[in-house]
Amino acid sequence: MQVCGFSSGKSRVQPWRDVVLSMLTLCAMFAFLSVRLNADQDEQQKVASAAKLVQGGQLGEAESLVWGVLTRDPDNAEALNLLGYVRLRQKRLAESETLLRRAITLSPKLLPAYITLARLFHAQDDTDKEIAALLDASRLAPGDAQIHCDLAAAYLKRNDYRQALDSLQQISGANPPDVKFLLLATTYLGLGRTADVDTLTPTIMSRGAKDPKLLVQFAEVLLDFDLTSQALYILETAQKKVQHPSAALLLTLGRAHERRDEYTLAERELRQALRLDSRSVDILQALARVLARQGQWEKSLELLVTARKLDPNSPEVLRKLAATSLHTGAASQAVEAAQALVKLGPNDPDALYLLGVAQLQNGESEEARTNLESYAKLRPQDGLAFLALAMAEIGLRDLPAAEANLQQSIKLDPNRAEAYYQLSLIFRERGDNSAAITQLQKAVAVNNQYAPAHAVLGALYLSLQQYDKAQEHLMHAVALAPDTADTHYQLGLLFARLNQRDRAQREMEQFRKLKDKGNSDGTPAVAPPATFQPAGPPS
C-alpha cells in the first residue's frame, strides 16, 4: 500500500530563509533600540543588554532583565517586544503573540514587533497571517530589502509567484541581499520563465564565487524544479571553487545524483557529508533514502533511528522511520514511530493512515480499525483507505464489514487488484467458490501481474478439478513470484493429479525448502501483500 500524501519540494520553505528571518528580527530590534536610547536611557539600556543576552542564547537572564523593566514600566513596548521574542524562542507561542500584539498596540510603529510576529506565524505555518504581518512591516519600512524578501518567500509558500515577484521588484539599491536572487530564481521558475533564470545565473555565479553557499542554495532551487543537470553543473562548479566542500554542498550533490538514479555516486557524496556533519538530520534522511532505493532497507532504518535520536519530534523523520520499519518487517517499531507522528498531528490524515497500516502489520487489528476509520473519514474518496480498513476488519473476523468496505474501495478505485483479491478470499471462506473466482478474474483483468490472484485462482480451479485452468494460473503465479511457497505446493498437488510425479515431487521440495526458510529466519515465506508496502522508498 502506498504511503502517500508527502509534499513535493516545490512549496517547501527553504531552510536558509529561517536563518535570514532570525537575523532580520534581531537586527531590526537593535536598530530600533539604538534610536530610542536617549529616551528613558536606563530602561532602554537594560532592554538593550537583554537583547545582547538573547543574541548570546542566554534567554533566562534576558527574561529576568526584561521582567525587571516591565515591573516598573508595564507599558514598555520594546521590553514587551523582546519578551515576546524570548517566548517565541521558548516555543511558548500563544504567550509570544499576546506580548507582541500588546507591544504593537502600545507602539504601532514598532517595526521589530511586526517582524517577530511574522516569525511567530511562520513557526505556526500560518502563511496568511505571516504575510499580513510582513505587509505591515513593509509599510513601516518600505525600503527594507529583507522584509520584501521575506514577503516574497511567504508568497512562494502559497505558490503565489506573481505576488512574490511584485515584492521582489520593490527591492531597489545597488547591493540587494543574495537571497533576493534565490527568490527571484524560484519565482521565475514557478512562472515558467526559465529564460529569466538563465539571465540571472551569471549574477548568482558571480556572487557565489565569494560565497559558495549561495551556489548550493541556487542548486537546491534548480533541483526543486527538476533541473537536475543544471543543478549538478552549479554544484560541480562550487565544488571546484572550494578546497574543502561543505556538508551542505555534498548533501545537495548527493540529492542531485539521486535524482538521476546515480545511487552509487549519491551514496558516496552523502557518506562524505555525514563524515563532516554526523549530526545532520537532513543528511541522515537523504542517505537513508538512497540506501532504501538500493534495497538496503535495514541500513536505511539504522540511519533513520539515528536521525530520530537527534530530532525526536521531526514529522518527516518519523514518517520515514515508520514506513521503512514496515518495509523491514519491524512492525512494532513502525507502530511506535507512527504513534509519535500522530501525537504531533492528531488530525494528520497521512499519519493516521501510516499508524493504521503499521498496527495492521503488527496484528493490532482493533486499533488499526479505529485509526483507519478516522483516516477514511478525512479522505472519503481514497479507495486505499477502505481497503486498509477492510484488512483490519478481516483481522477482526468482521467479514460483513470487510466486504462492505472492499466494495466501497472498488467503487472508488476499480483498478485496485488487491481489493478484488481480498473480496475473493472472503467469498472463498464463505464457501462460494464461484463468486471468489469472479472477483479473482477481475483482479487479474486489472492487473495481470498480480501474483496472489493468479495463485488463488489456480488453487480454486484445482479444487474444482479444472486442471488446465489451474495450471495456467499457477504457472503464471510462480513466474511472477517464484519464492511464494504456497504456489509451489499447489503446483505439486496439480502435477500429482496429472500423474506427473517427478514434477510434483520437485514442486513439493521447493515448497518445503521455502517454508523451512521462512520458519527459520522468521520472515514469512509469503511476502506481505504488495499493496501494504510503501510504493517505493519513502520520499
Binding site: R428, G431, S463, G492, A496
Partner: protein, 580 residues
C-alpha cells in the same frame, strides 16, 4: 387454449406429488424435527471424573481424555472405558488417577466394573483403542500413556490382564494415538502407536518461559513447538501373542519426530492394502501408502493431506473418516487448534484429496474453537453421514484474555446437506451441545440398541457427558456386527457397502480414530424411508467379498465371514466365567 392450460396446474401438482414421494429418500428434518441430543449422564450412574489441575502447567495435562466403547463382555451392548491421568503434581508425589470401565446394563444405566476388570490404573493415560490381538473373539484394550502403552488382554470373564511385557510392546515414549489394523493381511491385527513429544517428569519444561510457552503474550504451558518431538512405532503381530517392532523397516518411524496424535488405518486407494493416516500436531500430517511386503511410503504432501489448502501446517488432533458424498471413498476430517479451521479432505480417488473445508461449510464455525474428538455418523438416519466435533481449549489462562477464546467450549454438529456441504445445526439439537466444556475424546455407538447413535464424550476437566440421541423421525436403519474367520476376528477394516434403492453407502469397521478414542465397532447405516436393504456387499480384510441380499431394516445383524447372517451368539464367544 384454455382447456389445456387449465389442466396443466393439476398435472403439475400430480407430478410434483409423485416426485416428492418417489424421490424423497428421507426428508431433511424440518426445524421442529431435528434430532435432539439429551445429556443423560446423571441418570446413567456414571460417576467418573478426569483428574485435573486448574492451571494446566504442562502439556501432558491437556492432551489426554480418550474414551473407548468396548463390548468387553460380548453381551451385545457397548460398554464404556474412560481413560484417566494424574496431574503432574500428583504423579511426582507417586499418586495415580483411576480410569473407569462401565458396564452397559441395557436399561440406560451403567455399572462401574473397573475393580473387577482390573483396568483402573494402567498408567498416565492418554487414549484407548480396541482390537482383538489374539483372535480369541474377546476385544482387548490398548491404552496409550506417557511412558508407553498398556495392552490389556480380555480374559473373557469380565477381567483383563496387563500383557504389555509379554506381548513385546516395548515403548517408553509419550504415546498418544494408536490403531489396530492388519496391514499385511495375514489375519492378525498389527498395532501402530504414534508419539507426541519427548517429555519426562524429571525434566519438566518451565511454564511460561520462552516464546513457545506464550499465547498472545500470556504465560502458558510449553509446547508442542519448542519441545523435541518423538517418532512413531509399528508393531507386527507375530500371531503368538507377541509383537515385533518393525517401524523403521516399514518406513513409518517418523525420524523427524513430528508431534503424532490420532492415527487410523484404512484402504484409501482400494488396492486391498491398509494405508495409514496420522494427524500430527503443528507439523504436517502423514499419509502412508501401503506398498506391500511390509513397506510404506509417506505421500501426504502429494496426496494433499499434509497441510491446509494454503500450505500451512495445522495442529492436527482428531480424525474422522466418512463417505459423506456417497462416492464409495472415505474422506478425512481433521480437527485443529483455534484460529485454524478444521479440515475436510475430500477423497477424490487415486490417493488424491482436496481441502474442501470452506466450500463444504465446516471451516468457518470451527475456527474459534480448539477441536478434538470427531466422528462422521448419521444422526437422523437419513442415510447421509453427518459430522460431530467436540471442543475445549488447552490453556485455562485464556479466560483472562480479551481475544474471544474461552477455555470451556461448546460442541459442534453439522448436518449433511447431501450436496457436498454441511449445515451447522449445533444450536438446534438441544441445549446439551451448547454447554461449554473442556472436551477431548468422543466415541459414537448405539448405546441402547435402539437404532440411534449416541455419543460418549470424555472431558479432561470434570465429568464426562453421555448424549442420548432422541430422534423422533421414522427413518429406518440397520446395523452389522461382523466377525472374521480368515480375516481378523473383529473384522477390523472390513468395508461394508449398503444399497437401498439409489441410496448407496459405504463404511468400515475401524480401530481408533476420533481423538485417541474408539467408536462402537458395529457398522450402522441410516436408510431414510427405505424399509429394507436391497443388498450389502462386505469386503472382508481377507479380500473375500460377500453379498447379502434383501435384508429387513431396523435390525441388528451379526455376520460371520463366509457364512452370511448368523445368530449373534455364534460370533460372540461364551464368557469363560459362565463356562466355569
Amino acid at each position: 387454449m384454455i382447456g389445456q392450460v387449465s389442466q396443466l396446474p393439476i398435472k403439475l401438482l400430480v407430478f410434483c406429488g409423485f416426485a416428492i414421494i418417489f424421490l424423497n429418500q428421507g426428508a431433511q428434518p424440518a426445524a421442529g424435527q431435528m434430532p435432539q441430543f439429551v445429556d443423560i449422564t446423571d441418570s446413567t450412574s456414571i460417576k467418573f471424573e478426569h483428574a485435573s489441575s486448574s492451571d494446566k502447567k504442562y502439556i501432558v495435562e491437556s492432551m489426554g481424555g480418550g474414551v473407548a466403547l468396548i463390548d468387553y463382555d460380548r453381551d451385545g451392548l457397548p460398554d464404556i472405558y474412560f481413560t484417566n491421568a494424574p496431574t503432574v503434581e500428583m504423579a511426582l508425589r507417586g499418586e495415580k488417577a483411576r480410569a473407569a470401565l462401565y458396564h452397559n446394563n441395557g436399561d440406560g444405566t451403567f455399572t462401574d466394573v473397573t475393580e473387577k476388570a482390573g483396568v483402573g490404573y494402567p498408567c498416565f493415560a492418554m487414549g484407548a483403542v480396541v482390537g482383538d490381538y489374539n483372535n480369541d473373539g474377546w476385544p482387548d484394550l490398548l491404552v496409550t500413556c506417557l511412558g508407553g502403552v498398556v495392552l490389556y488382554r480380555n480374559n473373557g470373564d469380565g477381567t483383563f490382564t496387563d500383557v504389555t511385557k509379554q506381548a513385546g510392546l516395548s515403548d517408553t515414549q509419550y504415546a498418544t494415538g494408536a490403531a489396530f489394523g492388519d496391514y499385511d493381511n495375514d489375519g492378525w491385527v498389527d498395532l501402530f502407536v504414534s508419539h507426541y513429544v519427548d517429555f519426562h517428569l524429571d525434566d519438566l519444561p518451565k511454564f511460561g518461559e520462552g516464546k513457545t510457552c506464550e499465547y498472545h503474550s500470556l504465560a502458558v504451558q510449553c509446547g508442542p513447538r519448542g519441545l523435541k518431538g518423538a517418532g512413531d512405532l509399528l508393531f507386527h503381530n507375530n500371531r503368538d501373542g507377541t509383537f515385533a517392532e518393525v517401524s523403521k523397516a516399514a518406513g513409518v518411524d517418523d525420524p523427524h519426530g513430528y508431534y503424532g496424535l490420532t492415527a487410523v488405518w484404512s484402504d484409501f486407494n482400494d488396492d486391498g492394502r491398509l494405508d495409514l493416516f496420522v494427524a500430527n500436531d503443528s507439523t504436517p500430517n502423514f499419509l502412508y501408502r501401503n506398498d506391500g511386503d511390509g513397506h510404506f511410503k509417506e505421500i501426504s504432501f502429494l496426496a494433499g493431506t499434509a497441510v491446509s489448502q494454503d500450505g500451512s501446517e495445522q495442529a492436527g488432533m482428531g480424525v474422522a473418516l466418512g463417505d459423506y458424498l456417497h462416492t464409495g471413498r472415505l474422506s478425512i476430517f481433521v480437527s485443529h487448534f483455534s484460529e485454524e479451521y478444521a479440515t475436510l479432505f475430500r477423497n477424490d480417488g487415486g490417493l488424491s484429496f482436496t481441502d474442501v473445508s470452506f466450500s463444504s461449510g465446516v471451516a468457518m464455525p470451527t475456527i474459534p474453537y480448539v477441536g478434538w474428538g470427531a466422528a462422521f455418523f448419521d444422526v437422523d438416519n437419513d442415510g447421509w453421514p453427518d459430522l460431530f466435533m467436540v471442543n475445549g481449549h488447552v490453556y485455562p489462562q485464556v479466560d483472562t484474555l480479551d481475544v474471544g477464546a474461552r477455555y470451556h467450549e461448546p460442541k459442534l454438529l453439522f448436518l449433511n446437506q447431501r450436496d457436498g456441504t454441511f449445515r451447522n445445526i449445533s444450536q438446534q439439537v438441544g441445549p446439551a451441545l451448547q454447554v461449554p466444556q473442556v472436551s477431548r475424546g468422543v466415541a459414537v455407538g448405539d448405546l441402547f440398541n435402539n437404532g440411534r447413535l449416541d455419543i460418549a464424550v470424555e472431558n479432561v476437566d470434570g465429568k464426562p457427558m453421555v448424549l442420548r440421541n432422541q430422534n423422533e423421525n421414522h427413518n429406518h436403519w440397520v446395523s452389522f456386527e461382523l466377525a472374521g474367520t480368515t480375516s481378523n476376528r473383529l473384522a477390523l477394516n472390513a468395508r461394508v457397502k449398503a444399497v437401498a434403492g439409489d441410496l448407496v453407502q459405504v463404511d468400515e469397521v475401524r480401530s481408533g480414530g476420533s481423538y485417541l478414542s474408539q467408536n462402537d465397532l458395529r457398522i450402522h447405516f441410516g436408510l431414510g424411508n427405505h424399509d429394507r436393504l436391497d443388498r450389502i456387499e462386505i469386503l472382508w480384510p481377507s479380500r473375500k467379498k460377500e453379498v447379502l441380499n434383501n435384508l429387513v431394516a431396523d435390525r441388528q445383524y451379526a455376520v460371520k465371514e463366509g457364512q452370511g447372517v448368523v445368530p449373534p451368539e455364534s460370533i460372540r464367544p461364551i464368557s469363560r466365567s459362565k463356562v466355569q
